[in-house]
């Protein structure tokens, strides 16, 4: 298996295979940054604006990861899996929802907020966008755990639960945000396979720490 693309978003910069694809110093708050990053893709997708920060981050990372990849054509939609990790769950939107209920004189829980208090919704958004019907797993870990990610995906691939995988780490807490996503595909499906790194824990860590 190969890592055919990686995307890293943090500190107002988006890199794709270690090349900067979007960067801005004009905006210094996350919501403005991620919106600018999304707009740089020239995509029309009004649902983006309804998402919480975590989903927006994962969504933009996945858009860069899958740009011009037509992977939905190359793999059966039910064989494209998502395996994500995150530390803070949906903490920011959790706090927002808590604020809507804490004051009984101003008690208006919002379904559009509440639905995002489940962190796996970010994977749902990516599946909806790309029509992926495959495996979904979200692990909550203190830190990015390349070993756990690699071991789990390896078993899932060996058992043929999926043929290709979008995997990585997406975490937001206030202004601390980071998404690191990988596209993992079998050698046989890639024409120029020598150009890519082998999918293993050491290479995942290398890409993460570059």
């Amino acid at each position: 298996m190969l890592i055919t693309r990686s995307v890293h978003i943090t500190h107002q910069r988006i890199t794709c295979d270690n090349q900067t694809v979007f960067e801005t110093s004009d905006v210094n708050i996350f919501t403005e940054f991620i919106k600018a990053g999304f707009k740089s893709l020239n995509a029309t997708y009004p649902k983006f604006y309804k998402m919480d920060s975590l989903s927006k981050l994962a969504f933009v990372a996945s858009e860069f990861l899958l740009r011009d990849q037509d992977i939905a054509q190359r793999y059966a939609p039910e064989s494209i899996g998502l395996v994500f990790q995150n530390a803070a769950s949906s903490i920011d939107i959790d706090k927002d929802h808590q604020l809507t209920i804490q004051d009984r004189a101003n008690y208006f829980p919002s379904p559009a907020l509440f639905v995002y208090t489940l962190p796996n919704i970010m994977m749902g958004e990516i599946c909806i966008r790309n029509k992926f019907f495959g495996e979904n797993a979200l692990f909550i870990t203190e830190k990015f755990d390349a070993e756990l990610l690699y071991n789990h995906i390896t078993v899932m691939l060996a058992k043929h639960k999926m043929d290709a995988c979008i995997a990585g780490w997406t975490n937001v807490e206030q202004e601390q945000y980071e998404s690191f996503l990988l596209l993992i595909e079998p050698e046989t499906m890639v024409s120029n396979s020598k150009e890519f790194r082998t999918f293993d824990a050491a290479n995942i860590l290398k890409l993460y720490t570059i």
């Binding site: 769950s89 008690y107 509440f114 909806i128 870990t141 639960k161």
Partner: protein, 383 residues
């Protein structure tokens, strides 16, 4: 590949603190869902299945200090303790891994109106999981799975994959969630709560009941640990996404169909082999129709199906595990449990709903779950 056996089980809900109490009440059609008039949880009355806090405190006090653990942690620790004490699994061993399934864990700690002595980081699920694993002296980093309402089934599937690969000998898979104002208000804003005991697959179903609870399933590759005649194996499972909507169930059932058919493939069985399905069956109008369509399409129309939600509500991160352990017990006793709340058939495809306690020999059972984010999961257990 190592076979994975079920070597211990527990469930804690409003029905009781042991699996035996659950089975006894379910056999006698006793529901723990009640009308709740608790202004702290919700300004108006609603129907839910809640655990007696005084009893939980008493039970926990016999094994640990209740002041050192949150209600959520106490519930999961107690459930795991009760499952472990009758087994030979060494919880502290480096060959044992703790796997925790939950949606919101200690979310009540966000409520700034209530003071508590717990460190703020306990709201992080990985931190709460550490508290649980360390209670048992286990030093492996526990794994937390948080996939909305399918978390429990995903956790069992993950544990099975992990044990199959030989990475560990045993997995203590614990799932649970507590009833909080946070969650009750959210489901109420979705207008998805029933005005009585929920009615899965019924023509007059009008929504779900929330429930709080925890369940534990102990899995082991050490076959010597289980009684050969009673041994139940995890055969395999899968998950999927509807790719349709973040909260509304698929109108076609495609996602659940993929999860179910992939699970059968993982287990190397066909639809004809399945003797029983423990469905998700939340009793919301769209969910139950979606499930009926998926089971129909998978060729499972004639297989008896139940939902246990009418007994103890929807226990969220606990559901996949609590409902699995009860269904496994049914399998051992050759019983199909009644679908509490169901009276009149009311879903769009002709599936077979269990409407009374029935004797049936079962060799293969299927457990499914579906949740927000469009996710679905399925697992197969075998005798």
């Amino acid at each position: 590949m190592h076979n994975v056996f079920v070597v211990g089980q527990n469930a804690i809900t409003s029905l009781g603190f042991t699996l035996a109490e659950h089975i006894d009440k379910i056999k006698n059609n006793i529901s723990g869902v009640k009308r709740i008039d608790d202004k702290v949880l919700f300004p108006e009355s609603f129907y839910a299945s809640l655990i007696d806090n005084v009893l939980l405190h008493q039970h926990f006090a016999s094994i640990g200090n209740p002041d050192s653990y949150t209600k959520f942690e106490q519930l999961l620790i107690l459930s795991a303790h009760l499952a472990l004490k009758d087994s030979t699994v060494n919880a502290a061993s480096h060959k044992t891994i703790f796997i925790i399934s939950t949606t919101k864990g200690n979310i009540n700690l966000l409520d700034t109106r209530q003071s508590n002595s717990f460190s703020a980081d306990r709201v992080y699920l990985w931190k709460a999981a550490q508290q649980i694993a360390r209670f048992f002296g286990n030093n492996n980093t526990p794994i937390v799975i948080s996939n909305a309402c399918i978390s429990g089934v995903v956790a069992i599937n993950f544990a099975n994959d992990l044990l199959n690969s030989g990475a560990y000998d045993n997995a203590v898979v614990i799932g649970g969630d507590i009833a909080t104002e946070f969650v009750v208000s959210g489901f109420q804003s979705f207008k998805s709560m029933s005005f009585g005991i929920c009615k899965p697959f019924d023509a007059h179903r009008d929504g779900l009941n929330l429930g709080e609870g925890a369940g534990t399933i102990l899995l082991s590759t050490q076959a010597a640990d289980c009684d050969a005649k009673q041994s139940i194996k995890v055969l395999g499972g899968a998950s999927s996404n509807d790719a349709n909507h973040i909260s509304g169930p698929s109108r076609t059932g495609d996602g659940l169909y993929f999860a179910v058919t992939k699970a059968m493939k993982q287990a190397s069985i066909t639809a004809q082999d399945v003797d029983f399905i423990s469905a998700h069956g939340t009793a919301t109008p769209f969910n139950d129709d979606m499930e009926a369509k998926a089971f129909h399409r998978a060729g499972l129309c004639d297989v008896p199906i139940n939902s246990l939600k009418g007994y103890f509500g929807h226990t969220l991160g606990g559901a996949g595990i609590i409902e699995s352990v009860i269904s496994i017990q049914g399998m051992k006793e050759n019983l199909l449990f009644n679908t509490m709340g169901y009276e009149e058939f009311g879903v769009e495809e002709p599936v077979t709903i269990v409407d009374h306690l029935t004797e049936k020999e079962q060799n293969y059972i299927l457990k499914t779950a579906s949740g927000f984010g469009g996710c679905n999961a399925a697992v197969i257990f075998a005798k």
